[in-house]
Symmetry: C2
Subunit: 231 residues, 2 copies
DNA sequence: GACTAAATTTCGGTA
DNA sequence: TACCGAAGTTTAGTC
């Protein structure tokens, strides 16, 4: 990534035409050649940009442009759409390059993780008399989302998903198979809990004796609001 | 604007919960306190961000965090929504601050300007036998978008708008009044051209003998495609 | 891979 | 100032 602070004007020609008058801005050149032109305010949207895949090439300013104070011109083009971004640079105030590497990317564990916390707090949603053993109960093949005990003290393993699909049922099945070999736990029953459970997944789960539980995230969140306000 | 390249992990708690694992990223702190976390790829949307108005405060890492390698923690909060962004910094690789000043902002002269170019090229959209005199024909009270002549050689003044509103009709009326005083031009007829003409504007225009012309931007653009490919 | 729907959307314009 | 709709939308999930 290259970061340039420069006094520049910018012209875009593509799906629309747009112009940025001469001012000092941040030019962010990403490693895929894409360019973002940011001002020192506003929200996350750049003033102007070119999406990847695109190529950046330098152009020498002609005499008129040189007379107007342009020292270099960046031409960013996108092969696919024939869009074009022209950055006319008058002065570079900062210029640095950095190796960032590929990014592992955003984990929107948001809903599932939050659901896990909420269901742990509202464990009786599993049924009257249920008690929480713990969240992320570790097994040899990975953590079970929630381990609880029913009113009779029998172990209940809960697999939580935002969208309940067949994959989740298979996952829970593997956990149950393993846990039921453990004499301290067996017999373990399974609960497949999700905001939304696909018909195929429900059929498979119930065929295997796994109970399905549809969770109302908003309602659970609403009950938790008092706790949230403590932050 | 402050630019920081740092090895960091990021957590967001607000309308959803999200997590960014430890990696090297760009942290852009704008003068309004807002923060953008960018990776070296993807499009213009940051991996994570906090919209203004918000405040950034530094927190000392506790012992556990310090043991994990966290050297400093940024806490960015938004007053209104109670959203919170936590940046746990492990290592700062670059840190610089820059004065950018306020930005004049984007001029999307795009559609209207482009329409003007296209209509000038396709001047016969005004009617058979029309010829272009020039775009931006200057008068004492400002430039008329397009001046043309019809098949009989009579002057035609065109006011172009993306959305044809009453204002535009009034504007054209003023131009026509002025131009019709010029013996070299008179008699000048008016054409109010827009992608969309509001009923009120159409009524007013036709009442004043101004012809209304609805332009099909996409079709005009399509005809222009061959020319665009020359770039 | 194309298509559809949501987004921590943002950004205009209009009532 | 609040609501509504488009965006050079982007992004994630489904078919």
């Amino acid at each position: 990534m290259r970061l340039v602070i420069a006094k520049c004007s910018v012209d875009y020609a593509g799906r629309l035409s747009a112009h940025l008058p001469l001012a000092t801005r941040l030019l962010m050149v990403k490693s895929d050649g894409s360019l973002l032109v940011h001002s020192d305010g506003g929200s996350y949207k750049p003033l102007n940009w070119m999406s990847p895949p695109c190529t950046l090439s330098l152009i020498d300013p002609d005499d008129d442009q040189a007379d107007a104070g342009v020292t270099e011109i960046w031409k960013v083009t996108q092969a696919k759409t024939a869009d074009m971004l022209i950055v006319s640079i008058h002065e570079i105030l900062h210029d640095s390059a950095h190796e960032l590497g590929i990014d592992p990317g955003l984990q929107k564990d948001g809903v599932e993780a939050h659901l896990q916390v909420l269901l742990a707090e509202q464990i009786d949603l599993l049924g009257d008399g249920h008690t929480l053993v713990r969240r992320e109960y570790m097994t040899a093949i990975g953590p079970v989302d929630i381990l609880a005990r029913d009113s009779k003290g029998a172990a209940v393993a809960v697999e939580l998903k935002r969208r309940g699909d067949i994959d989740g049922v298979e996952q829970l099945t593997r956990y149950l198979e393993l846990m039921n070999r453990d004499p301290h736990l067996a017999p373990v029953t399974g609960v497949f809990a999700a905001q939304e459970i696909k018909p195929q997944a429900r059929t498979l789960a119930e065929d295997r004796g796994i109970r399905c539980l549809v969770l109302d995230y908003d309602a659970m969140r609403g009950l938790d609001d008092s706790a949230s306000r403590l932050f």
